[in-house]
Symmetry: C2
Subunit: 338 residues, 2 copies
């Protein structure tokens, strides 16, 4: 690796408008922080062309590894594994496996990224399945919610494992000693929920955890910010996330419609523009961009396929926080201490 402490592998080819947005995101990051090295995987000619547009991307911060092919969003996971070995995604993951990078970021095909990562980087000892964690804004800051869709079927062990892993993720990003962890349920009473969830509740109540287990939480309280880490199965977690995204879009569109439907409304909007800009900034989903695959021997960051350069910049920031916070070491020591 380079002389810097941290090296990140970037799959520059996945998602919309790549590699343009990826390189622009990298340039934004390097304006803030120059102490990270990047292995950039993808079509060299395109990447060189993009980099030439940004004076602040200097040779000491990156290396390009030319990859002729790329895994497309439309590829099935099976096809991706079969023919993807020369792709930018595969090579980027491989560089983590070969200890040439500490972490990989990709905005490509989620399923392929998950399966190839599991294949090459492997699960940590003692952990059954990978989970996808995400950041969720709330009144007091940000929560971690997981699993957001990696595991449709969930058992008691998964809830307990992911509670520990989620707490470590929160610690590594936000530097809080004793995060609170809760299980997402349809009520806060002990008797509610399905069997696996109730068993997990009992196990976590009895366990000596190195986090504060605060019981159940309902969907309408995620926003309160009283709980740092919210654990749920991948089916419910994905539905909660997508429904919240849809609701944000619904409300902001309704507001726009009402303000743009009349001359008076347009004047009001113009007058209030700086405030609406503030609202937009405070709700900007790009700030929370990046699904974090956990449980593998190295973190894998999935940037949203439709994310732009600013969103990609936030993914890089998150990745570096995770590395500096020592996430993998934290999780490992947690599971070794059992």
């Amino acid at each position: 690796m380079s002389s810097f402490n941290y090296t990140i592998a970037i799959d520059a080819m996945g998602g919309e408008n790549s590699p343009g947005k990826v390189i622009e995101g990298l340039s934004l990051f390097l304006k803030e922080d120059k102490e990270v090295f990047f292995n950039i995987f993808g079509k060299e000619t395109s990447i060189v062309k993009e980099i030439s547009q940004y004076k602040n991307i200097l040779p000491q911060n990156y290396k390009i590894i030319n990859c002729e092919s790329q895994i497309e969003d439309k590829n099935s996971v099976r096809d991706a594994i079969k023919v993807g070995k020369d792709s930018s995604m595969w090579k980027a993951i491989e560089s983590v496996k070969n200890k040439e990078s500490h972490l990989i970021i990709s905005s490509g095909n989620t399923g392929a990224l998950l399966v190839i990562s599991k294949l090459l980087i492997k699960m940590m000892d003692g952990i059954d399945k990978p989970a996808i964690a995400g950041l969720w804004p709330n009144f007091k800051g940000v929560s971690v919610v997981m699993d957001l869709g990696a595991n449709i079927e969930f058992n008691e062990k998964n809830y307990v494992e992911f509670s520990k892993i989620g707490a470590e993720l929160y610690r590594s990003i936000f530097d809080k000693k004793d995060p609170t962890v809760a299980l997402l349920n349809v009520g806060s009473e002990e008797i509610k929920g399905h069997e696996e969830l109730k068993n997990a509740f009992n196990a976590l109540s009895k366990n000596k955890n190195n986090f504060n287990f605060s019981g159940y939480i309902e969907g309408n309280h995620i926003k309160d910010g009283d709980v740092d880490v919210i654990i749920t199965d991948g089916f419910s977690g994905n539905i909660a996330l997508k429904t919240a995204e849809g609701t944000v879009n619904f409300i902001t569109t309704e507001i726009k419609k009402i303000f743009s439907n009349s001359f008076f409304g347009k004047v009001c909007y113009l007058f209030s523009f700086p405030l609406f800009k503030k609202v937009k900034q405070s709700l900007d989903p790009r700030k929370y961009n990046g699904g974090i695959f956990l449980g593998l021997n190295a973190p894998v960051i999935k940037s949203h396929g439709s994310a732009d350069s600013l969103a990609f910049f936030y993914s890089i920031k998150l990745s570096v926080k995770i590395l500096r916070g020592g996430l993998v070491k934290r999780i490992k020591s947690n599971f070794e201490n059992e």
Copy 2:
């Protein structure tokens, strides 16, 4: 029953600020529509006192049935069944059983309402379990989403049954001949989701339905309004609903905070007040108040416990729509035709 075509049983004692809000909601309804009769169950002295405040609640529209006790929100379902036989909720449900009312509305204890309704009114032939349906605003109008929490465990038969029932509910409320029905899932591809859901997808694809089966829908597309009825298990449905509620609250609070944080913001708000009022009206959750318990031999409407008089008014409106739309007959003929 009365000389009117429809008689509704009202449990006047459940939820916050009862019976005041219930009677005020009734008064609001009777301003619009006088062709419905109400059996009002609860403490007679309190109800008479409340009614005396509204000149438009006339004797031909109601009868009070005095009930000395009431089921509290804090009561367990078991206690409610054991000691609740003299309660306003029990008596109101009983009046439906005895064919003295066509439908019951209550803002009391959800669990007790569900279990006592099942006990007294009984399930329709051919239907296994009751489901809770709700109205969900979207860009084009309103969708029906169910189950919102009655059934934590869900099998293939439930999905298929509830698709039919949901379509009939939509028909009875919105008078649309061929509503579209979709299953809530974590992706739109056929291979996604758990086994029960995939089996239901296959069954609904092969069945000759009297609705348009449109496959899977993801949480972020509920708002689009392209699907009339969205079917999901009670666990995911409750989490989706609560998360959406929390998200609405989060966004509107953020907007208020930003506009009230400065003198300039307050001036902007004052200037734009009529528009913000319009936004508030368009998103007002009270308009969608009322969980509808389906699958029983009569509809049971659960008004939100914290709902106010306007919300209760919307519950009554919804109830009358359901009765006029002939929901129970529609569902019955559907299941008899099998």
